[in-house]
Symmetry: C2
Subunit: 599 residues, 2 copies
């Protein structure tokens, strides 16, 4: 029989995946949409590459959230599908996977689903394309293969069949015997995967996923309150084990553990801590570098002016609007290159903030300063980043230039800090408990060489935002690069300014913009502008996000970011594209420039 | 409130854990039994160390599978408990955790449980010890905290209370409000852990744990047979993703993937392969080394004789009984040190075995041999180990000595091969599909610096046994050491012979033997002999296993192993003790001698 493999089943760039599939003797591939979006190749290039390698493109996947929706929404879905069918014609792919909808707006109406899938198949047939409809195990209304088949059968369209996936069938415990009731010619595709059984019983959950109070989803504080009301006087004792704790150094783990209990005691009224002094803004980000020139060039292109120099240290202040970047050439270690070493947080009570941090076991940093410098309280975060609690810190700097009068950049929107693998949960708890920031949910972000996790912490008003990231494995410093995102009111003008000043922006694959055209409607010329400048785009129910990136200097890069409406995201949807573009810009090696991805 | 942490929550040796807990400011610790068993410190030493560090020993844990059993079994359980209470007196610990039983022989009889726990508390009280009874979420009959409390209440013994664990309560979705119905003085202990929610939904299962057919627990072949009966003519396509595949090199992953489909097609009758030629024994294990002396000394001490030398290569054959070890000084790379490079498998059809391996994409190795050498078919396993399919291979060797007439070692019992992290599942499928071996379940083995996995493959009659191992993370080569286990009929005599010949055996902590005394009864002097020689012991319903280890040379060590009855295990229960002893013997660094454990 013909054998195929989905490109998502292999790591690396699309080219690497295709080469590996061909060498292993596969006859064809399923092209996963993200692999196309992140590839620098045109669809025609991909088609030619596959042909050269003797690979057919057996499936393009997936179309999602198409069917059983109100007619106006379906019209928009058809528009999106038409874009994809045009793309598939360029690719030379003749079968498309449509997954059963997970959209909350989908209706539990099989007749409607059948009618709309039939319309979709009509459209597809005009392109010579067949539609394979598959039940996702977590589909909103259609989650079993026999249900998907009933809808396909009811639609009765020759270009509509079903796709069977062993995972979706067997993970639900469905009886696969019913497959034999489907005519073979209506099974358009068969996807195979195995999986360990059981998914996870409570013993495995316990053995691999316990974490310290405040790092998971349990209401541990609620439970402890109940216990305290009984008059219990014994110890609060942590019994936690997971795959990270088993490997991480005992010292930092024990500190993390005690911190979680201190916070738990505060929360349950069993112990007191100095109150949090929630920061009110980012005073500055400090970069250390052995060579200030590349950074100076980039900051200059971004529109920053060198407005001041520290009285007693080799530290320059670069400023634009309320965004301030310190460039420190005094403490850099050449081997580490350029990196983000410190963050200044504007604090309503610097001493109080430092006292709370100290009570929560954060290392208090000595101030190596001249006698006339303003005293700055500082502690170390779990990743080693120095956190300064700032009141009147600017008196240490003497003026050079004035900041630009009409800035493109208004302030620092957020900082993205990559955490050591063993300390991701610790970092979130630290920023929440010590600084009083709020933590959002953790999200997975696919990188070509692994899955990254990201979790944002910040103030309620967004004046301080930090995106904590972590790689897929202890050795993975794929995204060890840290970055500073600058808020702008006009990302197009800001990006043009960078380019006019000779700065380079990260190039984004053209396929990404073809997908944007399928997903959204744009004014004339708008999309072409984004494509030209490498601006990424996202939209949710709150507003829009437009952002672009500089190339990387050492371990640091910059982002220009425009939020409209009340968009609070960080562009997680665009992150795979950005990561693949960074890999490509660095010649396929780790984003840091070192060949550091585990293979 | 007093704060404690379980030693299992921190990594490293017991000493490292205690130091870390103290430095982080904890008031006390729960000593986890395995941490005591694997420690070289006596209980008195541990007590003194804790006192020096300002740590109380708040809990010793756990006693398992004690209650609600027939009286004769309970008498044995009390005997075991008495041993542990004596140990706790030496430790200075006054509270013991008793988990609700998971033993299949436990009865669903609360009155019996209460009566027996009361008897246990009587015994404990004589030692000044309190018993804290806790419901494990996966307990056989008692799995909720309120059930455990009802039993404690019914027992009405002052030295019996309950232990609450937030994980066991909240993971079951129990309402913690009922805790307030328990008098605080009857809550002897409170263990806290958080955990992510949900444990794993089907989407997470899909995203992180799909694997290639034959590597999981699904009956994928059964499903495919149903599909084939429909007349389906489309491709078999793999849609697999998991955290390993996302990171591993695309090339080997694609080969692994295609191999799984070739085996699936054979299994479903959709494709044919050369039939398996199941090996019938281990012909030899080949070590390569840049320096033959340390190996020669160790093999000599183990009772081997150098019986032959290869006609044309710098390869010696060492033999004892039917155990044969080749020592090759011709191809070693000094940097890699001494390692296990090849395994000779006695094959009923060497050519057929090689043809099957080749059809299943195993790299066929060129034979660098002189014209007069016997042709040996060889392929590379996923970890690079060369597998030779042997017929009449011994004609290449010319005799030196005769093998010993009265050997201690009879044959090679098994080989233990550490796999590269990204290729553990591939390795099991390879040995099963290519060689026709049967795979057992994968087991977790705690190492001081992480959790290892081990999976045995072998023939039905045990004539070939290979234990495949893998570390906890991509960088973890903690157990990169590979080993050869030699079968003996008298491990005590064989171990004495090693010692008499000046060989060194791995020393095992005394605490391990105290625990053996609690678990089993031994003849007079038997346990002292094991303690003296470092012999490990296990017993199951089929028979007993006694085994000991040499120190490590390069990346290789040897095991002497005596199976009595029909014990088919590999001593997984003893592996944590062995691993900790190896860490200790190498000064706390990786077992390979390099400081390679991720911290």
């Amino acid at each position: 029989m013909r054998t195929s493999i989905a490109t998502v089943s292999l790591s690396g760039s699309l080219t690497e995946k295709l080469t590996a599939a061909s060498r292993a003797g596969f006859d064809g591939v399923e092209i996963f949409e993200n692999d196309l979006l992140t590839a620098p190749l045109t669809p025609e290039d991909i088609r030619a590459r596959c042909a050269d390698l003797g690979l057919g493109i057996d499936l393009y996947q997936p179309l999602r959230d198409i069917e059983a929706v109100p007619d106006d929404l379906f019209a928009r879905n058809l528009r999106r599908a038409r874009h994809k069918f045009e793309l598939m014609r360029r690719l030379g792919a003749d079968t498309v996977l449509v997954c059963s909808s997970v959209d909350p707006s989908a209706l539990d109406d099989d007749a409607l689903a059948a009618r709309q899938l039939s319309e979709l198949a009509d459209l597809a047939a005009g392109f010579g394309i067949r539609v394979a409809y598959e039940a996702l195990a977590w589909g909103r209304h259609v989650s079993t293969y026999d249900h998907a088949w009933r809808i396909v059968e009811a639609a009765g369209h020759p270009a509509l069949g079903t796709c069977l996936d062993s995972f979706h069938i067997l993970s639900r415990g469905s009886d696969p015997g019913g497959i034999e009731d489907i005519p073979g010619e209506k099974i358009f595709f068969l996807q195979l995967a195995d999986a360990p059984l059981p998914a996870m019983d409570v013993l495995q959950w316990s053995r691999h996923h316990r974490c310290f109070p405040g790092q998971g989803g349990f209401d541990v504080a609620g439970l402890v309150r109940h216990v305290l009301r009984t008059g219990y006087t014994g110890p609060l004792s942590l019994e936690v084990f997971n795959d990270v704790v088993r490997q991480a150094d005992a010292g930092p783990t024990a500190v993390d553990a005690r911190r979680s209990l201190l916070l738990l005691q505060e929360e349950t009224g069993a112990g007191a801590l100095p109150a949090p002094a929630v920061p009110t803004g980012v005073a500055f980000a400090e970069l250390v570098t052995p060579d200030a020139e590349p950074l100076a060039g980039l900051l200059d292109a971004l529109g920053f002016s060198r407005t001041a120099r520290h009285r007693s240290k080799p530290v320059d202040l670069w400023q634009q609007g309320e965004a301030r970047v310190l460039v420190n050439t005094g403490t850099a270690v050449r081997r580490d290159g350029t990196r983000l070493a410190a963050v200044g947080l504007e604090s309503p009570d610097p001493r109080g903030a430092a006292r709370r941090a100290e009570a929560l076991l954060a290392p208090v940093l000595p101030r190596r300063r001249a006698p006339e410098d303003a005293p700055l309280d500082a502690v170390a975060a779990p990743d080693g980043t120095e956190l300064f609690f700032c009141g009147a810190w600017r008196s240490d700097f003497t003026g050079l230039d004035h900041p630009p009068a009409a800035p493109h950049v208004r302030h620092i929107d957020h900082l993205a800090l990559t955490q050591p693998w063993h300390h991701f949960d610790e970092a979130a708890l630290f920023h929440r408990g010590v600084l009083g920031l709020r933590a959002e949910e953790s999200v997975d972000v696919p990188d070509p060489y692994g899955l990254l996790r990201s979790r944002a912490v910040g103030t309620a008003d967004g004046s301080v935002r930090i995106a904590l990231g972590v790689g897929a494995a202890p050795t993975d410093d794929t995204v060890h690069a840290q970055h500073i995102a600058f808020a702008t009111d006009d990302v197009v003008a800001a990006a043009r300014r960078v380019r006019a000043a000779g700065g380079r922006l990260l190039p984004i694959p053209a396929n990404y913009y073809d997908d944007l055209a399928a997903r959204h409607e744009f004014a004339d010329g708008e999309l072409e502008t984004y494509r030209d400048l490498g601006i990424l785009y996202d939209r949710d129910e709150h507003g829009t996000l437009r952002h672009c990136y500089t190339l990387t200097v050492g371990q640091v890069f910059f982002e220009l970011l425009q939020r409209d409406g009340a968009h609070h995201g960080y562009g997680a949807r665009n992150a795979p594209v950005r990561l693949a573009a960074q890999h490509a810009a660095q010649g396929g090696a780790g984003v840091t420039g070192g060949c550091s991805t585990p293979r």
